[in-house]
């Protein structure tokens, strides 16, 4: 159900700041790919180029090609269409504060015009089950607001919301960095299960997390992608000394 992502010669700017330089990589379908690197290395910018969120900033600019499946997302489609096929989960959980749990999950569908009640009910239930939140909230779907849940639950709610529109790719920008270890484990288990249905790209500061969930890992440094290989190789015997310095904590 997921598709592969092919990135060629991707360059990105914020104003005059050349944030990403000549990125080339192939993200495999139905796998989890982790992106690691120090703060400011461009990994978050890269991920935001994959669903065209980068350009919501007025001084942002992108050149190069990103193909998701067989679609060139910058030439063949509008941003709104792309974002329906590529979902995103953010670092800090951001459920819609005025909406109930049900409405939060259904938001992507309702705001895009789908309104058949029983279809929505079904999709909401399925999404909440897929994000391992159903059992905890099934009795309070319309009574509780999205913002009244705990941090870990809110993040799973955001995952359910992203899954409800049935994307092919799921981008996760440090999804567990604001959560406690138990919630983090739940999210990681979730990613493991979701892998089989979606292509997942996860940006993380936590190398152990990358090692736990991802088959492939890419190391970003100063806007470039230094190394992209199987997670096993990156963490036991990386090819590039810069990668090794980063993961052994010997930076600087």
């Amino acid at each position: 159900m997921g598709v592969g992502i092919e990135v060629s010669n991707l360059n990105a700017w914020y104003g005059t700041n050349h944030t990403l330089q000549d990125i080339n990589l192939n993200i495999p379908a139905n796998h989890a790919t982790a992106l690691i690197g120090p703060s400011g290395c461009g990994k978050s910018t890269f991920v935001r180029c994959l669903n065209r969120m980068h350009e919501t900033n007025p001084i942002a600019r992108v050149t190069g090609t990103v193909r998701i499946g067989d679609l060139d997302i910058y030439k063949d489609a509008k941003p709104v269409e792309i974002r329906r096929r590529v979902g995103m989960v953010f670092q800090r959980p951001n459920p819609f504060p005025t909406m109930s749990i049900y409405d939060n999950v259904a938001a992507g569908l309702k705001l895009n015009g789908y309104s058949t009640r029983h279809v929505l009910d079904e999709i909401v239930e399925r999404s909440l089950k897929n994000s391992a939140l159903w059992d905890e909230v099934k009795d309070d779907l319309k009574k509780k607001s999205g913002a009244s849940l705990s941090g870990g639950q809110q993040q799973r709610l955001c995952i359910a919301r992203a899954l409800a529109v049935d994307p092919e790719v799921l981008l996760m920008d440090e999804p567990a960095s604001a959560l406690d270890p138990v919630s983090t484990s739940k999210i990681e288990d979730l990613i493991f299960q979701l892998k089989s249905q979606y292509t997942i790209v996860i940006v993380t500061h936590n190398m152990q997390q990358a090692a736990r969930v991802a088959e492939k890992t890419g190391f970003f440094l100063n806007g470039r992608m230094v190394e992209f290989d199987s997670t096993h190789k990156i963490f036991t015997n990386p090819s590039d000394k810069r990668t090794e310095d980063y993961i052994t904590g010997r930076f600087g």
């Binding site: 669903n51 709104v80 269409e81 995103m88 607001s145 955001c158 919301r161 992203a162």
Partner: protein, 296 residues
């Protein structure tokens, strides 16, 4: 020696703490006192004259006793309804533009500046301006022109509402965290839809407060109505003719030489305040229930 110093210091600190708290309480009392004083005084002066007649009868000709301000209450209602119909949509629309679509642009800066200037225009000047634009011209494109009318009064009040509604809307929208906007955009929701259904909705309690603030302010305005609505001693609900209004009527009666009309003026003042507070509370109650229920 050290222990003694510390003791002294902490006692001094406790003293300052208490003094500051005392000062804060005193300030609150000073602020609230005039409000309470006004209300109590109005009650004292006007409560006795508030009776059923007040609410159902029109004013009696000069010199005669009795009568009421029913037409003024109706007139204020009509004027405020028209003012809200003008001020709220334009104000909210302006606020949405400033916060969501025009951020940082020169146009937005100009609009914001204009709103601030408009806010500062004295109400009498507003009245005179609308007199010149709406009341005076004969046979212009402006409806109901050529004579004093309820319409012109509503327009004057409506324009006065715009800056407050606009600026509060902008401020409330800016307070909506960017994360919420991003969440909506990332779902593939078009920007305009995200603004209306998500951002505005999130900010709606604040926006409504802004509208109520503007409403409460213009409800008591008298000067703009002098040259526009003019006032009316008889029943009138027509937009095309002069109309009575509570503040106007109070003004006229307060200046009259008749004791009877003075009493009615006091009653009118009391009723005006009570009606404003009631209207605002009603809006609060209705909207707060709606928001908490997470209306789908």
């Amino acid at each position: 020696m050290k222990a003694g110093e510390n003791q002294l210091r902490s006692r001094f600190r406790a003293l300052t703490d208490n003094a500051a708290t005392g000062l804060a309480i005193l300030s609150t009392v000073v602020v609230v006192a005039p409000l309470v004083a006004i209300f109590v005084y109005l009650l004292y002066k006007g409560a006795s004259s508030v009776n059923l007649d007040f609410f159902i009868k029109v004013p009696k000709p000069e010199g005669e006793a009795g009568g009421g301000m029913a037409n003024a209450i109706l007139g204020s209602g009509i004027l405020l309804a028209l003012a809200s119909a003008i001020g709220v949509p334009i104000g909210i629309g302006g606020g949405i533009f400033l916060a969501e679509f025009g951020r940082g642009t020169k146009l937005a800066n100009a609009v914001r500046f204009t709103a601030d200037v408009l806010n500062g225009v004295p109400s009498i000047v507003m009245g005179v301006a609308i007199y010149g634009l709406v009341v005076r011209p004969h046979g212009s494109f402006m409806p109901f022109s050529g004579h004093f009318s309820a319409f012109s009064g509503g327009v004057a009040l409506g324009i006065m509402m715009i800056p407050t509604v606009c600026r509060t809307t902008e401020e409330m929208l800016l307070m909506v965290p960017n994360a919420v906007r991003e969440a909506a955009l990332a779902l593939g929701v078009p920007n305009w839809r995200s603004v209306l259904s998500i951002t505005v909705r999130t900010a709606s309690p604040g926006i409504i407060t802004g509208c109520m603030l503007a409403f409460a302010r213009v409800a008591g305005e008298t000067a703009p109505l002098i040259f526009t609505a003019l006032g009316n001693s008889f029943w009138s609900a027509s937009l095309d003719r002069p109309i009575a209004a509570l503040p106007l009527q109070i003004y006229v009666y307060a200046l009259s030489p008749y004791e009877d009309q003075h009493r009615l003026a006091w009653a009118g003042a009391l009723v005006l305040i009570v009606l404003i507070v009631a209207a605002v509370s009603l809006v609060r109650y209705v909207t707060s229930r709606g928001v908490l229920k997470g209306a789908s």
